[in-house]
């Protein structure tokens, strides 16, 4: 009996081509899109990245955090501190901010993991508030009122405004692609097997030899690393930072959860689909003011009731589609 394992299927072969074409088109956006569109696209990439990271944390590892704004804000503040106080080039400061946030997340995780389920969720929010209050005490960065990057730092990215916007756009795209690529790579690895098993059944996972606690720990730290880098880039683009914007539970967690849940939690495609839906809603309904948020809430409720696995979950269950070649399909010959 010959045994072979295939990762791709017809839908993922099409999917990979679509993703590749989209990447080329988006990488060329500075030549075909106007400035406002570039900014919007960069924002979309940031949300794809944040939602993909949250999906890994909550959808796979079962760590439902409502406090990921802690790492968005931490990454952003580290970037400002490194650039303004230590004179480090802002683009170099992004990975340093990610790495430092990851180091900080190690003891934070040790504390947070003493809490389970709902308590973990609430605890993560409390932790983010602690981070926000600490940030407002940093007088070197103008504490509670916030600060702006000095012109010299901004100019160091690129001398012309147009080139600066292009550079930040490309970095935002590269960052989202790198994070998605890392997640695909992870899910195809041995740890992906474990993570998917944990997603489906924690008791089953532990009973089959998976060290669930250790894997959750590693995922928490890795997600902190990625989230902080995304946060650093978001605020490098904004140029201005304050504790309330950097540690906003609405912007960096509520919307991210909305995106992941309507797109399809526990599936890699879910956050991408969710981000597209979210931005379509936002761009078409933004003029409605508070009603826009009511509509978002209604959409979330309808999706949760009618399609608990999200939009992509519905599609994947119905057609067996996968965009990324993740499954392990057994092909037996000589039978």
């Amino acid at each position: 009996m010959t045994v072979r394992v295939e990762h791709s299927n017809p839908s993922s072969r099409v999917g990979v081509v679509i993703v590749a074409v989209a990447f080329v088109l988006l990488a060329a956006a500075p030549w075909w899109a106007e400035r406002a569109s570039l900014r919007l696209l960069a924002e979309i990439y940031a949300y794809v990245a944040l939602a993909s990271l949250w999906n890994l944390l909550a959808g796979y590892a079962g760590l439902v955090s409502v406090g990921q704004q802690a790492y968005v804000g931490l990454g952003a503040y580290l970037l400002f501190a490194l650039a303004m106080l230590a004179g480090i080039h802002p683009l170099v400061a992004i990975p340093i901010a990610g790495f430092t946030a990851a180091v900080i997340s190690i003891p934070v995780a040790a504390l947070m993991f003493r809490l389970r389920g709902h308590y973990f969720a609430i605890g993560s929010w409390v932790m983010a508030e602690v981070f926000r209050l600490l940030a407002s005490q940093v007088s070197a960065l103008d504490g509670g009122s916030g600060t702006s990057l000095p012109a010299a730092v901004v100019l160091s990215i690129a001398s012309s405004r147009q080139m600066r916007e292009f550079v930040i756009y490309w970095i935002a795209l590269a960052q989202a692609v790198a994070i998605l690529g890392a997640i695909v790579w992870l899910l195809r690895s041995r740890y992906g097997l474990a993570l998917t098993a944990i997603r489906d059944n924690e008791l089953g996972a532990r009973s089959n030899g998976i060290d669930v606690a250790r894997i959750k720990y590693v995922v928490y730290v890795a997600v902190a690393f990625g989230t902080a880098m995304v946060g650093a880039l978001i605020f490098l683009q904004k140029i201005r930072i304050s504790p309330d914007t950097a540690f906003s539970v609405n912007d960096w967690t509520a919307f991210v959860i909305f995106i992941t849940v309507i797109g399809g939690i526990g599936r890699i495609e879910g956050p991408i689909v969710g981000t597209v839906v979210f931005f379509l809603l936002r761009q078409t309904l933004a003029d409605l003011g508070a009603i826009y948020l009511l509509i978002l809430g209604a959409v979330a409720i309808v999706v949760m009731l009618k399609a608990p696995k999200g939009i992509w979950g519905l599609i994947a269950d119905r057609f067996g589609w996968q965009v990324f070649p993740l499954e392990r399909r057994l092909v037996m010959g000589d039978r």
Binding site: L193, T196, D200, A205, G209, R328, L330, M332
Partner: protein
Amino acid sequence: MTMPILSLQKISKRFGAVVVADGIDLTLGEGEALGVIGPNGAGKTTLFGIITGTVAPDSGRVLFAGEDVTRAAPERRCRMGIARSFQIPQPFGGMTVFENLVVAAAFGGGKRERDVYPRCAELLDQCGLADKANRRAGSLALLDRKRLELARALATEPRVLLLDEVAGGLIEHETAALVALVKDVRARGVSIIWIEHIVHALIAAVDRLVVLHGGALIAEGLPAEVIRRPQVAEIYMGIEADA
């Protein structure tokens, strides 16, 4: 009896006022197949929880291969060689049947992923799941879920295999095939504890039978002999009545 691979020493556990294990002493010999019967609520499944580490006993010790594992985590016990099938199947529902086995073989068996593919394919064949290898485990009917429980437990390459009501719902020739499979597993040196309500299947496969009632062992011995004891027959009839 041969050298014990597993022994429980004075294991007690209560959930509130309910005593589910009352000072249980039990040993399993290397290569032995032990059957466990008892009415619902007798503490059979809890016993498996205590052996595998998902339930912490209030007192007593669990020894595996001479080592005290009373405080060891379930994943560690699995990697040491204690595997279990759950009475209520616990599949990885979003993964395929094949992937379920790969997880167990790679982590429980402590092997590299690609090295386990042939063995997993073989197990699917043995457990009657070959044609469903690439189906999502969550889409399986109950019977196939039970087969998957067994196949996945075997994929971890256990030294001790704990089976929790794997025969329920099987028709006659399927039961015979299951008994043959269990005997085959045992012939390869795996020690077995099997909880089962389908007593004739159990008697055909085990060397020794214990009866659990109210968290205590009330009978122990050769299967055919234990089952004839009046006290046991009464409980056994009781099981048949409410099964």
